[in-house]
Symmetry: C2
Subunit: 248 residues, 2 copies
DNA sequence: CGGTAAGTTGAATACTGTCAAGACAAGTGG
DNA sequence: CCACTTGTCTTGACAGTATTCAACTTACCG
């Protein structure tokens, strides 16, 4: 079962002309240098819903910039227990974990039909030789990845269920907003089970919480469609500090 | 209140002659290249018990190789809630998280009087220019750091208290063993509270679990001294697969 | 239009947290 | 050196939260 690889022809979209430029790999790099990234992406891969981009144990020879769709990553221990470690939206880089020994230590699975740009490690090293800002960028991205798991750690380690789900919704809302989508109206691409697994809760608890939030008028839920009615309340539930205006 | 910096004189211990070489920064690097690391460590820092090596928000301009003692790292959110993210033993590298923007996103605190080798980022970049294996090593270390938080994620996300503590003990035992210490007889340098925070449990739960493990004859506890009496039982509790011999 | 997967809800249970009291060890000052 | 303070740890009783089990509803897909 191989995934569909799409070679990038000479006149196809490159990093320097890609709409994702401001949220993807080139984020924060000088535009002159972004052009030098164009050679980095030689192909793309389409991943149908439910299929894996990579699996734990596979050789890691590339990073993947999510171009379209959404993915989840999950750890899988020896006994087969899985733990969802993150959900990825367009512009985000997948595959940064498990660069140890060049082997993936998680599975990446498409939540919907998706497409990624392939960035080979060899090419990164090569281009990095004369483009230190790329090296730096990779380092930043990996740190961001660590920060991401740290956020999850705080959630799992010191929040109660209600707070976890509120944080989850808030995080999703903010990331979607950064992508130009509505921050109050969106579709969750992941199932209750995946959310529960990610947050260390059972599917029933998640379901009850959604119902409760809706009953309290904080959100409106219809299956995977969510509308945030009271963002301040969500922030409150998430234990976030109030917005500056509230301090006056 | 500054920490004591110790300049490294010409004939002081270098990476190439350090006893920690097989478990520290040079791990896995060709010995010829390890000599080129000698210039990397220009000073050491002593950290008295309870003092910080670095704090969240500080500029990150160096990595620290723990030479003696032990540290904990902890996240601190806006509201001041802390979450212990790891305990560090000699030979392990601290400061890898938060390389994003070159700012630490956790605090590193000494659990006992400790000493670290300072490896400046500038020097890493410099030496890395002509020593690709160093770049690779840093990348590996960061991935290892990610793997570490992933381990914690699995624990917090899908284990019950008993399993968490067993995993914790097992992990500690294995790391101490790798350092040449006894794997069955050791002193935990961290308090019950720190263990609890790390595992997402209360101090009382930790205490009760230690008592229970002791009552069941799995371990023997005296304050922070632990003796593992039945390693197989611990592995069982931790949900680890049995040792190969048990499969016969 | 069935059949299956996903989601909801209720009741009972189990686990972990909270509160409180006391034990123990280590360190301080008289 | 001893009384005293302080911080750490242990243990019990109770409360609260999240899980489990089960029944049922609702979407989704061929």
């Amino acid at each position: 079962m191989t995934l569909k690889h799409i070679p990038i022809s000479a006149h196809a979209t490159h990093c320097s002309t890609c709409m994702m430029g401001n949220v993807c790999l080139p984020t924060g790099m000088p535009s002159a240098e972004v052009e030098q990234l164009d050679d980095l992406v030689k192909e793309r891969i389409r991943i149908p819903k439910g299929r894996r981009l990579f699996s734990k144990g596979q050789n890691l020879d590339a990073l993947y910039a999510l171009r379209l769709g959404s993915l989840k990553t999950q750890l899988e221990d020896v006994m087969g227990v899985v733990q969802v470690t993150g959900f990825y939206l367009p512009g985000e880089i997948v595959g940064l974990d498990g660069m140890l020994d060049g082997v993936h230590d998680s599975n990446a699975i498409a939540l919907e039909d998706s497409e990624v740009c392939v960035v080979r490690l060899i090419d990164i090293d090569q281009v990095g030789m004369y483009l230190p800002s790329l090296q730096q960028q990779i380092r930043r991205l990996m740190s961001k990845e660590i920060a991401r798991s740290h956020q999850a750690l705080i959630a799992l380690g010191s929040m109660r269920s209600e707070q976890r789900l509120a944080s989850f919704l808030l995080n999703l809302s903010q990331r979607l907003s950064a992508l130009g989508y509505s921050s109050t109206d969106f579709v969750m691409r992941m199932s209750r089970e995946e959310i529960g697994n990610y947050l260390g809760l059972t599917i029933e608890t998640i379901s009850r919480l959604f119902s409760r939030f809706a009953r309290d008028g904080v959100i409106k839920v219809n299956q995977r469609e969510v509308r945030i009615l009271d963002l301040e309340a969500i922030k409150e539930l998430a234990g976030q500090p109030c917005t500056p205006s509230n301090y006056n």
